[in-house]
Symmetry: C2
Subunit: 202 residues, 2 copies
């Protein structure tokens, strides 16, 4: 499929993924066609079928690459972040960066279309969120142990809240491109987990 790992003009396979990814993140999996991708790349639809036999397989590859990248970003946060609160802020910033490119989280988008997705994509999306929730849970538990975070109930519940909160804030603020609004909502979300500091002052 690929000529070499270091193909200079980016490689058609990768460029297909790049275009398709953007289309899914903006229009959804049911909102774009092979023709859209082909036209944008200046190739034929048949060429797409050569690289990815069908839309289902392209979708699978999309989810897999996105999940890998996200996993890598989380691993980097584990290393770089100086503590649980910083890790959470870094996590929210990952979302803000996606949003600032006028996109929705790929898997958040696919979560909405979940019922219409081929099984392999469903599994990929589910795994993505499970991995994220698990990462958040571990960060939250560490923060509570270390005394840098405080929250009631289980860490898993708060992890689900953070994950859902960021995805949802993204979903809604994307409509009018309000990145600042997203950051404000995300900050408020995380403020509810901090060791009660900035309370009450309006």
């Amino acid at each position: 499929m690929r000529t070499e790992p270091g193909a200079r003009p980016a490689g058609t396979t990768t460029r297909i993924l790049d275009v398709a990814e953007r289309l899914v993140q903006t229009r959804g999996h049911n909102g774009f066609s092979y023709a859209d991708v082909a036209t944008e790349l200046g190739i034929t639809r048949a060429a797409l079928h050569y690289h990815y036999p069908g839309k289902a397989e392209l979708g699978e590859a999309l989810v897999a690459r996105y999940a890998d990248r996200f996993a890598a970003a989380l691993a980097e946060l584990d290393v770089e972040a100086s503590g649980a609160p910083a890790a959470l802020e870094g996590y929210a910033e990952l979302y803000a960066e996606v949003l600032s490119r006028q996109r929705m989280c790929l898997c958040g988008m696919l979560a909405a279309e979940y019922m219409t997705l081929p099984p392999a994509m469903q599994r990929g999306v589910t795994a993505f969120f499970e991995h994220n929730a698990e990462w958040l849970r571990s960060v939250l538990e560490r923060g509570r142990r270390e005394g840098t975070l405080a929250f009631s109930g289980s860490a898993a519940d708060s992890a689900a809240m953070v994950l859902g909160g960021l995805e949802g804030a993204m979903l809604i603020t994307r409509m009018n491109g309000d990145v600042a609004g997203f950051r404000a909502a995300a900050a408020r979300l995380l403020a509810g987990l901090s060791i009660s500091a900035d309370q009450i002052p309006a």
Copy 2:
């Protein structure tokens, strides 16, 4: 269009809306066809075009009815809820009820597909969220004035957080039908706004 306001066998126009609503809430606006609705109702596609000239108009009617119902539910909460915290809990419960029927919020679904929607539907969806955010903002401000809620920053930011948090939690928990998980996440979300009570005890 309708024979009478009190048509006993529900009226085709209404039944079309009911079926289409469920399909949008589960599969999205790009995930169902006129044929799906017609088949389920045992009528032809042409009959659908008689009641709603096109998918765009059907979609508009769907958003309008959903927004009206939601607005009525909010007005009822204003009357019935005994205070700001109760109003917020009631608000979250509205979402939980939708989810318990295995559905996503209609407008949350359409928010994902926003870029592919006809302009009139976009306006309807935007108006829905603005109305919800405004309602939440007023509840939050009242709660803060009355001393029943406490939160940092502007009420508008916290309103966006609650709105996004509930939509996002819904989006994600719907995948595995985890209503209990949704309620837990929603409770945690609102706990961050209460006058710091149940902090720290795991």
